[in-house]
């Protein structure tokens, strides 16, 4: 083949054949040739093929946009009438939303219930606190409700702790109910490890953080106003309720 290159007279005849050969060779090897730059160029428009849409183009700032006011209704469910006891699962949550009731976090501060590591059962030594809370709720605070907040130390993983805090709050609720206070007036919530009472990473701090806090709730005088104040909630989001 080298002879072809060295022989001018044959060059003209050889060229078409040569070019075809080269093309076949190039294809079979995937070789683009010996040009310096890469020949095949891909232009990406907007986010890459796996990119998400919406975040890289103009338009509303994410996060500052209120929720859609007229969205499809939230899960329809058949409310179960009282009693709240669901066989095998404990006390059903009250259907009522206490989000707009006025919280008093100091009234039962001294009755904060503490738990053992990774446990949701109320220690026998903590039971007297709850007996006192139930008695006072029934005698001193008629018409008021009690929000029970479950908290954890940081030694469980985050969502596991959310479930653990949930069970702690529920355990307190069941004891208060067994003392006679209406479970329908006891919403529970869980903060997992999001709101430690003591931010230190010590055993003493952990034991203070594994707790159930009791918040006295009074009926609102103006529910809409209170809801906005408590949660900084946008009107649009509220209208979804």
């Amino acid at each position: 083949m080298k002879a072809l290159n060295n022989s001018e007279p044959h060059m003209k005849i050889a060229r078409p054949i040569t070019l075809i050969t080269v093309a076949i060779l190039a294809l079979s090897f995937g070789v683009v040739g010996c040009k310096k730059g890469v020949q095949k160029e891909t232009t990406l428009r907007g986010p890459g093929p796996r990119g998400i849409t919406g975040d890289e183009r103009g338009g509303p700032i994410i996060g500052n946009v209120p929720a859609q006011p007229n969205h499809t209704p939230i899960i329809s469910e058949t409310p179960t009438a009282s009693p709240l006891d669901v066989p095998g699962q404990g006390l059903k949550q009250p259907d009522r939303n206490f989000g707009d009731w006025l919280p008093n976090t100091t009234e039962f501060k001294d009755q904060t219930v503490f738990f053992d590591y990774d446990k949701a059962n109320v220690r026998p030594s903590e039971i007297p606190k709850l007996k006192e809370v139930a008695r006072r709720m029934m005698t001193s605070f008629p018409g008021k409700a009690l929000r029970i907040e479950g908290h954890c130390d940081e030694r469980g993983t985050e969502e596991y702790n959310r479930s653990l805090g949930d069970r702690r709050a529920q355990a307190i609720r069941e004891i208060l109910a067994s003392e006679g206070f209406d479970p329908g007036m006891m919403p529970t919530t869980t903060f997992g490890e999001d709101k430690p009472a003591d931010p230190e990473h010590t055993e003493a701090a952990y034991s203070r953080n594994r707790r159930g806090e009791l918040v006295l709730l009074s009926p609102p005088s103006n529910s809409g106003e209170q809801l906005t104040r408590d949660f900084g909630e946008s009107k649009a989001l509220r209208s979804s309720e």
């Binding site: 040739g33 500052n64 939230i74 959310r162 479930s163 989001l237």
Partner: protein, 396 residues
């Protein structure tokens, strides 16, 4: 002309001379370097990157690392990557080190240098590994950011932490953000008092309540097809596992017990949910059919107190957090058995290539996200945003 032709012929001759060349339909040399390790992951392919500098160089090497292609000194490399990059454009030619045969070449122009380099990295990794789903360089992640204690917001960023931006500005607590397709997030937020689960369209900011039942609604997990959600609700007393359609309709309670359940994760085919239950006394992993039935325990030998399961997109592994000298990441085959210890950390989320993980590490309220190449256990921390970053979810 003569010279050009001569060069072309010489190249052709070299090509023929290569032992069943690199570039034939079934390139034998590439197959030889594509060796699985004892767990079935591809052993890293050693390359030497040259010609790039600064951001382009670091981005390309970082991307490749989490796709099974690792930058090594010249003498250890099997391939040379000759790169060239400038604003908004990146190109490279991948050469077999000894023969200088071209294994791959590609060029990309994009809105930024990083975007072009990410595209280039995906293209190189696909060519060298032969794995069509290996590319992760152009993916996104969502995660929880705590600006201060007791406050958190949902963020999104490139998978490597670059370009982070806030999705929520609610000044409340959020948790467990995850993807429902590429344009929508689902997360739990305390914005209305109790935790409720919301969907959030990224392009418009439109939010809908997905689960707003009495009590607490949290730990959302969306199926791979984006159509169904698993979550933990305590409406019937104890926190148990529920599933629903992504719009919240069709609610179904999957578990009913007094022990408490947590942390659901879907199998990629949407048939099964792996979750944490205390049915046996302490936390353990269980699997249950997404349409209901009896839960079956998933053994995680050597890994105490497993939580936070995350099912790999290829369906082979479940990554999770165990408590072994603090939080430690493990993987276990989906059938259960001996768990394989990875590195200290929690909150694992698989990459779409089922090779890398995003996870968090550090004390509460000072956590930092990191990337992990599972087979080599190589960890790269991401830049921390504000006080604490946790609960990453990698867009699949």
């Amino acid at each position: 002309m003569k010279q050009t032709l001569f060069l072309v012929f010489r190249l052709a001759a070299v090509g023929w001379a290569l032992p069943t060349t690199l570039l034939a339909a079934q390139p034998i040399d590439l197959e030889l370097i594509r060796r699985p390790d004892s767990l079935g992951f591809l052993q890293p392919i050693p390359v030497h990157v040259r010609g790039l500098s600064g951001e382009a160089d670091s981005v390309l090497k970082n991307d490749l690392l989490f796709m099974g292609v690792v930058h090594k000194p010249l003498e250890e490399a099997k391939f040379l990557i000759d790169g060239n990059a400038s604003a908004g454009r990146a190109e490279a030619r991948v050469l077999e080190k000894v023969t200088k045969g071209v294994a791959h070449e590609a060029a990309f122009t994009a809105s930024s240098l990083r975007a072009a380099v990410h595209a280039l990295a995906d293209s190189i990794a696909k060519a060298l590994t032969g794995l069509p789903n290996i590319g992760i360089a152009q993916t996104k992640a969502t995660f929880k950011v705590e600006p201060s204690r007791g406050r958190s917001e949902v963020y999104i960023a490139d998978y490597d932490g670059f370009g982070a931006k806030a999705v929520t500005q609610d000044n409340t607590i959020v948790s467990a953000p995850c993807w429902a397709g590429r344009g929508m997030l689902v997360y739990s937020s305390y914005k209305l008092g109790n935790p409720y689960i919301f969907s959030h369209v990224l392009g418009t900011g439109v939010r809908n309540a997905v689960a707003k039942h009495p009590g607490n609604n949290y730990s959302p997990a969306v199926s791979a097809d984006g159509r169904r959600i698993a979550m933990i609700l305590n409406m019937n007393g104890t926190p148990n596992l529920y599933v629903a359609n992504i719009d919240g309709t069709g609610l179904k309670q999957l578990t009913r017990n007094r022990h408490g359940d947590a942390c659901p994760s879907w199998s990629p085919d949407g048939q099964t949910i792996c979750y944490v239950s205390r049915a046996g006394g302490g936390p353990a992993l269980y699997k249950i059919s997404a349409s209901g039935g009896s839960p079956a325990p998933l053994r995680t030998t050597f890994a105490p107190n497993p939580t936070e399961p995350d099912w790999s997109p290829d369906g082979k592994w479940i990554a999770f957090t165990a408590q072994l000298r603090g939080f430690t990441l493990f993987i276990v085959p989906v059938a259960g058995g001996e768990a394989i210890e990875l590195v200290p950390g929690e909150d694992p989320s698989w990459a779409p290539n089922s090779r890398a993980l995003l996870f968090s590490r550090g004390p509460d309220h000072a956590k930092q996200l990191s990337l992990l190449d599972v087979p080599t256990k190589t960890v790269k921390p991401l830049a921390r945003i504000l006080e604490s970053n946790s609960q990453p979810s990698w867009a699949k």
